[in-house]
């Protein structure tokens, strides 16, 4: 009997959203709602220079005149933007100088999440910037990175210490007027990571940011800016989780990447925000604007994303291929289960000569979820010899889910060669039978087949995270068969 009980426990454990706990920590919040005063409050909290405050206020005033986009294939009740907190920070008297001074409760939280912040775990060799609600808690490996000349710090610190870089690049890829959520973010962004890789430097380690929403009723608005100067290389990874709640929380981030001549940026995301419970209650609304600008010749930007969480995902990491011979890549796995809704894809804007892009998107929908790929490949008049290959495959598990593909292909230059293909299929009974007949359980078999289906993309992830992502794929699909 004990064994049965144990099994039941284990199964129950596995089915739950592992990161759904809440850390009880005293925090400081901006007043409820969003007004100019909120924007001033956030700016004052961060001790920001006047130009940035003006920048925020401009964005806020513009936001007031904008309306929410409705073209995506997602549905949700109207969001009351006045019923949320736009700034929340764990209370801390002084800025911690080392890990010992950080609130142990916070460290505990990150430990539970499996993020290597403490010294012994630093052996993992990944520099981490941990963001808790609206502020950065700690950034590891700062000294070692500084030796190489790499700047890796929270955005608020960058504003203070490197204002010339921030001023030059902030908003240069995603302007404040870009879209409803990006404009909102520009007005109220509170934290995020800033990365600058100097000329001809290969960043000595993987950089990583870990985002955590903890407070109730708060939105998270981080802003990440990565600049890779001539001939440099950086690989960056972000991860995200949130506590389990029955209300919807808003996450509207902006990520800007700038790659100068011969530079390469590899940006990977493992997104695992709380997806809502079985009835579709709660979960994070993930409305994110991510864009990379291949500004210099021969530059390269590669997006890899594993999207398993969020109640609603609205996200299109894009590449502007401005420099000649630049290259953009987009590898995506989007898994939706339960009542999740995903509308994700990419934009490849070919402006320079001999630019190439590659899009591999794998959508897996299970339960009652809806999964949409929406992508644009656009070739401008002066972009000679452009090459694009797009493949988007959808896998349906069960007959209550849906999968959509909405590609836009626009060419104004005859030398371009563009190819697009898409397929939709389901896991065949033969494949399942073959696995089960060899003693593999049904759910495990599904996970195995799905892992094979998205292998092309998983291979693009940095090694440390590939393993985690593979497990995540399995967990996300639990309860989807039978």
């Amino acid at each position: 009997m004990a064994a049965v009980k144990e099994t039941v426990e284990t199964v129950r454990e596995a089915e739950k959203y592992k990161y759904g706990f809440f850390t009880d920590i005293e925090s400081e919040k901006a007043p409820l709602g969003l007004t100019e005063d909120t924007v001033r409050f956030i700016s004052a909290k961060k001790d920001e220079p006047e130009w940035l405050l003006q920048w925020r206020l401009d964005a806020f005033r513009r936001w007031l005149t904008m309306t929410e986009p409705t073209w995506a294939k997602v549905s949700y009740p109207p969001i009351d933007f006045q019923d949320a907190y736009y700034y929340a920070a764990p209370k801390q008297k002084v800025q911690p100088k080392s890990l010992d001074e950080v609130d142990p409760k916070l460290l505990e939280t990150y430990e539970k999440l499996g993020i290597p912040l403490t010294e012994q775990k630093m052996l993992a060799g990944v520099a981490v910037d941990a963001v808790f609600d609206s502020v950065s808690v700690v950034t590891t490996f700062k000294e070692k990175l500084a030796e190489a000349g790499v700047i890796f710090c929270p955005m608020s610190e960058a504003v203070k210490n490197h204002p010339e870089l921030v001023k030059k690049y902030l908003g240069s890829v995603v302007p404040t007027s870009d879209n409803f959520y990006a404009t909102l973010n520009s007005a109220v962004f509170s934290e995020g990571s800033f990365v600058y890789i100097p000329e001809s430097v290969r960043c000595p380690m993987e950089l990583s940011t870990y985002f955590r929403i903890n407070e109730k009723q708060t939105g998270q608005f981080e802003r990440t800016l990565i600049i890779a100067d001539k001939g440099s290389y950086v690989s960056y990874l972000e991860g995200c989780t949130a506590p389990q709640r029955d209300e919807n929380q808003l996450h509207a981030a902006v990520v800007e990447l700038v790659a100068l001549e011969d530079a390469e940026i590899k940006y990977s995301t493992v997104q695992n925000w709380f997806p809502g419970d079985e009835e579709g209650k709660g979960g994070v609304y993930n409305f994110v604007t991510k864009r990379g600008d291949c500004r210099g010749a021969n530059s390269k930007i590669s997006w890899t994303q594993v999207e398993t969480g969020s109640a609603i995902t609205w996200k299109y990491p894009s590449c502007i291929l401005r420099g000649d011979n630049s290259r953009g890549e987009f590898y995506s796995i989007a898994i939706s289960n339960g009542h999740q809704q995903v509308d994700s894809g990419t934009k490849m804007i070919h402006l320079g000569r001999n630019t190439t892009s590659r899009i591999i998107s794998k959508g897996i929908s299970a339960g009652k979820s809806s999964n949409t790929y929406r992508g644009l490949v656009s070739v401008h008049r002066k972009a000679e010899n452009v090459r694009n290959f797009t493949q988007c495959d959808s896998l349906l598990i069960g007959d209550k889910c849906s999968a959509h593909t909405v590609p836009y292909i626009e060419t104004k230059n005859p030398t371009a060669i563009l190819e697009h293909e898409a397929t939709t299929s389901k896991i065949s009974d033969d494949q399942l039978f073959y696995c089960m007949q060899r003693g593999i359980g049904e759910e495990e078999a599904v996970a195995l087949i799905v892992n094979g289906f998205c292998r092309d993309v998983l291979q693009q992830l940095p090694m440390e995270f590939a393993v985690e992502a593979q497990k995540l794929v399995g967990i996300s699909l639990e309860g989807s068969v039978g």
Binding site: H404, P407, I409, T411, A422, S425
Partner: protein, 436 residues
């Protein structure tokens, strides 16, 4: 921007409502509703997703949208190759000049028993015509709202009804010719009852700045078969909006093929609704554009029931500053298992200034289906050109050969043997004269 043209259409309706056919029956009420809906949304513009690549409102702002004059006297029909393309085929012919049926120029005698061919005004009292005109495929579809304009202003059209199990002996040729500038609004109705069969050929010609607003409403009964071939060769100053709405019962088959060799701004819309299992629809086309021509093919296939097949292939060649658009959507509704949906679009760009926009969409709510779409855009392969030249074929000739071979795959799908051969000859002559 588009208010002006919209208002002119509404004024046109107000002025002519008493003289449009069906003034004393259900249709006048229906027209009232349609013009109200049209006034509500106005002419489509690029901010609407389904009109993203064609700004019809802006084009019509400049075009002559007053009704084309009613011609009753002698008319000189054009003698171009396009006009003569179906001449060798034994067929019934209905001629429409400036959007009005001309009995004197038509020839549709000795129809088999069970086949009825009328002009629109003569069938409006019949229930089947009412059913066809009144139906609406999707209330929310932005592309279908333009049909309201046609409903409000339609003044003539060809109506074909084939009774159960009857086969139309010869193809029915609908010949539309714009002799003057101005607008014509035609509504064609086709009802094939169970197991009935028919072939329809359509030709659209015009040298003037005309607006052709056409709707073809089709209903196919169980096991019915309809082959449809449309040839469009109009002036560069013309505007052409054609919508085909087809509902297919079980085991029915629709094969439709459109060849466009000349147009100004043209939008072809096809809506196919599968209402019975085991039906099949092929919506295909080929086009060759030059100058500042603009062709937008919009195609929605709705798999509402299980076990239906659909196939869409559009191939086109774009020269000059022309612009091609393909927007397709295959919808597989929940429970529409065993669906097979294929959607392909390929375009060749021959000039620096030509452009192509494609948006092949899949919307799938069932899991046991096979759906695929593909899209390619490129120029003529330099290797292939070199290969032909190295064997002594001059460059111009080699280009022509390759372009014809490219279009041939689509031309193969024209669903009538004789017509297909005629079209093939037409295309090859067209390219012999064109400077590509």
């Amino acid at each position: 921007m588009t208010e002006n043209a919209t208002r002119r259409f509404i004024e046109d309706y107000e002025a002519r409502r008493e003289v449009l056919p069906g003034v004393d029956g259900w249709l006048s009420r229906h027209r009232e509703g349609a013009i109200r809906d049209f006034a509500g949304v106005g002419l489509p513009h690029r901010r609407l997703e389904e009109w993203k690549y064609t700004d019809l409102g802006r084009v019509l702002e400049k075009a002559g949208i007053e009704p084309a004059p009613l011609l009753e006297g002698a008319v000189l029909l054009p003698e171009s190759r396009s006009a003569a393309v179906f001449e060798t085929i034994d067929r019934h012919v209905l001629v429409f000049v400036n959007g009005r049926y001309r009995a004197d120029l038509s020839k549709a005698a000795r129809l088999p028993k069970g086949v009825e061919i009328h002009s629109l005004g003569d069938v409006l009292h019949e229930q089947w015509a009412k059913d066809l005109v009144e139906r609406r495929f999707d209330e929310k579809r932005q592309a279908e709202s333009i049909v309201d304009l046609n409903t409000a202003l339609m003044s003539d059209g060809a109506c074909l009804r084939v009774r159960k199990g009857v086969k139309l002996d010869k193809p029915l040729h609908l010949f539309f010719f714009s002799a003057d500038a101005g607008a014509s609004h035609c509504r064609n109705l086709v009802l094939l009852e169970d197991e009935a069969e028919a072939t329809i050929l359509e030709t659209h010609l015009g040298e003037k700045a005309s607006l052709a607003d056409l709707v073809l409403d089709i209903s196919l009964g169980v096991g019915a078969r309809l082959n449809h071939i449309k040839l469009q060769d109009e002036a560069e100053s013309s505007v052409h909006i054609a919508t085909m709405r087809a509902r297919l019962a079980a085991q029915a088959r629709l094969s439709s093929f459109t060849l466009t060799l000349g147009c100004g701004t043209s939008r072809g819309q096809s809506f196919v609704l599968f209402a019975g299992e085991g039906a099949e629809a092929n919506i295909d086309g080929a086009y060759a554009l030059k100058g500042a021509q603009h062709l937008d093919q919009f195609c929605v296939i709705d798999h509402a029931v299980p076990s239906c097949n659909s196939h869409t292939l559009f191939k086109g060649v774009l020269d000059g500053e022309s612009e091609g658009v393909f927007q397709g959507k295959v919808i597989v509704r929940p429970h529409a298992q065993k669906t097979d949906g294929r959607q392909m679009t390929h375009a060749l760009l021959l000039s620096r200034d030509a452009s192509m926009n494609a948006k092949p969409e899949l919307e799938i709510y069932a899991d046991d289906v096979q759906c695929a779409h593909g899209s390619t855009v490129g120029e003529l392969s330099k290797d292939a050109l070199f290969y032909l030249q190295s064997r002594g074929i001059p460059e111009a000739e080699a280009r022509r050969l390759l372009v014809l071979a490219f279009l041939d795959e689509a031309l193969d799908l024209a669903p009538h043997d004789e017509a297909r051969e005629s079209l093939r000859r037409l295309v090859s002559d067209w390219f012999a004269e064109a400077d590509i």
